[in-house]
Amino acid sequence: MTSTNSVLTPSTPDEVVAALAADPDVVVIGGGTLVVPQVSLGTPVERAVWLGRAALDSVDESGDEIIVGATASLAACSRLPAPLGPCAANVGDPEVRSQATIGGNICAPVPYGDLRGPLLALDASIRCATADGERTVDAATFFALSGPRIALDVRFASPAAGSFVPLQRPHTVSLTAIGISAVRGASGEVRLAATGVAPEARRLYAAEAALAGGSDPVAAADAAREDIEPYDDVLASAAHRARVIPTLVRRAIDQLGG
């Protein structure tokens, strides 16, 4: 039998904020896909807060902004526009996607966290709980937070066009080594972001600047070499990453069309 543990189950977002303020070291559980195996394999968790009943699972596409609750499943997210939708659909298998949440994904350590790429490209903002209470920050700021934090919801303007190009996975059990996200905003600007091109998710500013300056997709993708810090991990070598990233960036730009 697993050692004893206690799980707080807040029923509103406000209770989530209060729970974190009261216990900043609490382990946060969204869908459970990352924490539950750790418990089974021997990592003790004494106190946890589970967000599954906190009324954070809605996906609202009715307004100017799309608002996605932190416990919306990746299956639900996979029905959203590119790059977020196809990125979510590229995680795990249908059963895992029905359980995993967007909040858990973007708070999980590398090499998890594919959805950070689309959210950077979408210039999303994230409403979150911190030890100091509730705040709303841009995605890059949220990903860089070092202290306790819980995502409550994610919001972004519906893109004029979007695309997501991953390095293909050999099997649904595999993690994605590289994911390139591209977004064309309402005023025609293109934003590019990626996971797997550097140890943390990042925008591809040099490639964006090249596009803004009139470069064609091939030249812009080539410019992305300035944006990347290829690294070795179990999913891909630095050399492999360096070789394929420009191709993936070019495809993502091409798929934006127009």
Binding site: M1, T2, S3, L41, G42
Partner: protein, 457 residues
């Protein structure tokens, strides 16, 4: 006929589809303990000291097993075939691969057993590591195997390699129009059965042991358990046959023996189920193979001779590797007939996980090498690869490297089927070929001597 060609239901089908089949992990008994292993974090190290005291003092820990608890510590999987054992059941003075078991803890829960393993204090002196078979022969290479050195040196006749000599290899190379060399390396593969290694060992009131085992080789495993425990086979009952996948990875199930020791020491049933991570990191794999092939061929597409050097990466201990390499040597011409052969194969030890069988022991990687090489030879000759393969394909009464006459070789039909399935048009003469004994143009002078006399065709 009632059976041939009939659709017979699987005897175990209903159990499988309704979840009622009892696998070893589904066995549960009153008072059953759970086990966990302390494994080496190093590829190669001297063990200076092991202190199990902190683990034994923990509440809920019922038995801690180390090398000192094993009646016969070293037993060889091929001892029955005259090949000495080299692998301690639990590490004593050295650990020779990452993941090698040092101690087993049986406790009231698997969580306690794992925590107790963490509490055992081991003092290691790390040693240089050998992970590439090509470096094993160099002066000053780290020594891996305490019994055999860096390669097995006790083949029949005092040979250090498995050798095959057939025909006149020098003449074949003298007569050749073209010589094609290639080096091929295949990697280790984990069999990854969905059911990880698991067993339940039960001490019976009459002094016997019952072992619920996932072994693929039940009577073989019985012999191994009894040898380590120094028990007559009448004292051990193995219950098996329901295996959640093995694919070669469950022939060398040391889990049975270790759990049996823990059961005898604690006096209680002990279950030991490996985690997936243990299965991937510490269970035997298909071995890596390093293969160098040199073929002597004629411009009209006959393979006159083959020289081959194989370095089989056995991992840290021998297990079945001498058998695997021998099988490899018998197959080293693949689906083709080559009359003149010079083969040397070494079983080389490295600080990798010991290797074992997997679906075509010793042959699968070899087939990859041979087929790639065959394609290269055909391309260098400027010859249609189908024609080249069919010309040299095994026929009835051709002889294998170890001089066995083929009674029913299917190479010709397999090649014709591949052509048909891939939409490749074969010439009429190639389409008309059969497996029948060589005659006429397909029996040139250099092949006459290799046809079996008084064959079985």
């Amino acid at each position: 006929m009632k059976v041939v060609g009939a659709r017979l239901p699987r005897y175990d089908g209903v159990g499988h589809v309704t979840g009622r089949t009892t696998y070893v992990d589904d066995v549960r008994l009153p008072g059953m303990l759970h086990a966990a292993a302390l494994r080496s974090p190093h590829h190669n190290a001297r063990i200076i000291d092991v202190d199990t005291g902190p683990a034994e003092a923990m509440a809920g820990v019922r038995a801690v097993i180390t090398h000192a608890d094993v009646p016969t510590l070293v037993y060889g999987h091929l001892s029955g075939a005259g090949i000495d054992g080299d692998e301690p059941l639990l590490a004593k003075d050295f650990v020779r691969y990452k993941g090698q078991p040092i101690a087993l803890v049986a406790a009231d829960s698997v969580q306690i057993a794992r925590a107790a393993c963490d509490a055992i204090v081991v003092d290691y002196e790390e040693l240089p590591t050998l992970l590439d078979v090509r470096l094993a022969f160099e002066d000053g290479a780290p020594v891996v195997n305490d019994r055999f050195g860096n390669w097995y040196k006790e083949f029949e006749g005092g040979l250090e390699a498995r050798q095959i000599r057939k025909g006149d290899i020098d003449r074949a190379f003298d007569d050749a129009d073209l010589i094609v060399e290639g080096v091929y390396r295949t990697q280790a593969v984990e069999q990854a059965p969905l059911e990880t290694q698991v067993c339940v060992a039960v001490p019976e009131p009459d002094g016997r042991l019952t072992i619920h085992t996932c072994t693929q080789a039940l009577y073989f495993s019985l012999g191994v358990v009894c040898a380590h425990l120094e028990l007559p086979m009448s004292k051990v009952k193995m219950v098996g046959g329901t295996v959640g996948g093995g694919f070669g990875g469950k022939v060398d199930t040391a889990s049975d023996t270790l759990a049996a020791l823990a059961a005898r020491k604690s006096g209680l049933p002990v279950k030991w189920r490996w985690t997936r991570e243990e299965e991937m990191l510490a269970s035997s794999t298909r071995g890596p193979w390093h293969m160098e092939i040199i073929d002597a061929v004629t411009s009209d597409g006959w393979i006159l001779g083959r020289k081959m050097l194989t370095l089989h990466d056995a991992g840290a201990y021998g297990r079945f590797s001498v058998y695997g390499l021998t099988k490899h040597s018998f197959h080293h011409t693949g689906a083709y007939t080559i009359p003149n052969l010079h083969f040397d194969g070494y079983v080389v030890f490295t600080n990798r996980i010991p290797t074992s069988a997997m679906r075509g022991y010793g042959v699968t990687g070899l087939s990859t090498a041979i087929e790639v090489h065959t394609e290269r030879v055909a391309n260098e000759l400027g010859m249609d690869p189908y024609e080249f393969r069919l010309k040299n394909a095994n026929r009835v009464n051709d002889t294998s490297p170890n001089r066995i006459a083929y009674e029913d070789p299917s190479t010709v039909e397999v090649l014709q089927s591949i052509a048909a399935a891939t939409g490749t048009e074969l010439d009429g003469s190639l389409r008309a070929m059969t497996r029948g004994e060589r005659t006429d143009d397909l029996l040139p002078d250099h092949l006459v001597g290799q046809i079996a006399q008084g064959g079985h065709g």
